[in-house]
Amino acid sequence: MRVKKVFRKDYLTLLESVLFLDFLKGLSVTLKNLLRKPITTQYPKEKLTPPKRFRGAHGHFVWDGTEPPSLKAIEKFMSYEKAKSRCVACYMCQTACPMPTLFRIEAVQTPDGKKKVTRFEMNLLNCLFCGLCVDACPVGCLTMTDIYELASYSRRDEVFSVEQLEERGKDYKARRGDEPERIWPNDEERKRLWGEIKWSG
């Protein structure tokens, strides 16, 4: 990146100090800004859409036929239903979490020997939205959505049950599932920032 060098004199010349040229320069800058459109987002009236990888409230992806084929093997061991959370109660998210008491995960063994997740709760009051739990999830269940308006009237409302997480995951997938996962709006922007990557196909 090129750094523009600015040369500054210690004293103004006579002409500059008599005609207030530096004043006029400053005034022209503010006048230009005055005529420009404001950049304000008037928040409650208009909201920005965060990027796809924004770390907002958590959600659970569900069994809906889009999961990778490798996950089919889990059918043998897990008792799951269609359109329900993919969670296998492996506790990886809790292990990865810097604040493990945030999670409340329980599972039981059904009479046919399969594992069934009975409880998955997240207390977002303790969450720092680092996303480590999402990285740790081996079945691609836990995700983070673009929802950031999480205020509520009671502390109880900040503890999210598995139903709420499923709901949010479905909603997120329906709205943003087709978007490519990148933090640049397009490839040109990426190239401008990082340059061409030679080794990747």
């Binding site: 004043f23 005034l27 503010t30 006048l31 800004n33 005055l34 404001p38 008037q42």
Partner: protein
């Protein structure tokens, strides 16, 4: 004789009743305008919520200030504490009495001058009122029993003392050219010559603008406010509407009045092409005044602040010699040509 006196008194009261509420209202709405201007200069929107374009914001502010609890600091000198508000507000309002808003006209066989008091020493009075307003500042700083307020008021006193002198000398050139101290007379002189005095006295105008910014405590001379150092300066211990009165007087009424006097001195007062029939003199006067007010605010949101020591330094060492030289040159040129 007696009837004449009563009539003239009645007319004066009527003029006062028109000018003062309008000026106070315009002063209040200048807060809205300044916030919009500052916002857009900084690429923000300014007030938008209260009313269309935030136009009711001054009313909401007044309501808020009026319902605030008013806390007087322990050890405050109460009579002086309250007196300071009046002493800040009254000179600024009195300045409005000397401004000719338009030419004299006849109504029902009677000549009416749209100026509250057409005295022949109007400029002297204007500077007297300007100097008086420093008492409001000093008293408020002294009576508050607070070191921030006191430092702010002392700074303001130093600034005003320095710039009053420069102000007096800077307008002397115009007075020499016009041959009168009356505001109406100065405007008449410019109309008779068909030229605005800013063409003859550009240096005096620049000096006047410096002094106007210093007198009204605007950037770059707002050391008495200096938010980063003194919280908000001499009015820091005032609450509610008492707090609102100081900026209203100093930042808005004073700026309006001094801009109007600058228009009288340098921009030919109400002179201008007749585009609105009988109303055009008022229109031109208000347009010029508002232009200067806008320029002041524009400067306010552009420039950084001088150091306190630099302000008096500039006044005594640079502006005063320039002003005196300007007066001498004007006098010599006027005498010989």
């Amino acid at each position: 004789m007696e009837r004449e006196l009563i009539e003239s008194l009645l007319f004066t009261v009527l003029k006062v009743l028109v000018v003062v509420p309008v000026a106070l209202g315009v002063g209040a709405y200048l807060t809205w305008f300044e916030r919009k201007l500052a916002g857009h200069i900084q690429n923000r929107m300014g007030p938008t919520v209260v009313g269309p374009f935030g136009l009711l914001q001054p009313l909401a502010d007044a309501l808020k200030l009026a319902t605030k609890e008013s806390v007087i600091p322990r050890g405050a000198d109460r009579p002086v504490y309250y007196l300071a508000i009046l002493l800040a507000l009254v000179p600024s309002v009195l300045l409005l009495a000397l401004i000719p808003w338009g030419p004299a006209f006849e109504l029902g066989g009677r000549v009416i001058k749209p100026i509250i008091s057409d005295v022949n020493v109007a400029l002297l009075l204007a500077f007297a009122f300007g100097s008086l307003s420093v008492y409001g500042t000093i008293f408020s700083g002294w009576a508050s029993n607070s070191k921030y307020a006191f430092i702010g008021s002392m700074r303001k006193a130093a600034v005003v003392i320095a710039y009053e002198v420069v102000l007096g000398f800077s307008v002397l050139g115009v007075v020499l050219l016009a041959g009168t101290l009356s505001t109406v007379g100065i405007v008449q002189a410019q109309i008779e010559r068909g030229v605005w005095f800013i063409l003859y006295q550009p240096v005096a105008f620049v000096l006047y603008m410096f002094c106007m910014l210093a007198e009204s405590g605007r950037v770059p001379f707002d050391v008495q406010e200096a938010e980063a150092e003194l919280v908000t300066g001499y009015n820091v211990e005032y609450g509610g509407m008492k707090f609102g009165a100081f900026p209203l007087a100093e930042w808005y009424l004073n700026v309006i009045a001094l801009s109007a006097i600058a228009v009288v001195l340098f921009f030919g007062g109400w002179s201008g092409p007749s585009i609105l029939g009988p109303l055009s003199p008022y229109f031109w006067f208000l347009v010029k005044t508002f232009g200067l007010v806008f320029f002041t605010m524009w400067l306010h949101w552009t420039l950084p602040r001088f150091q306190a020591k630099d302000i008096t330094d500039v006044a005594w060492k640079i502006l005063l010699p320039v002003a005196i030289a300007n007066v001498v040159v004007t006098a010599v040129v006027k005498y010989f040509f």
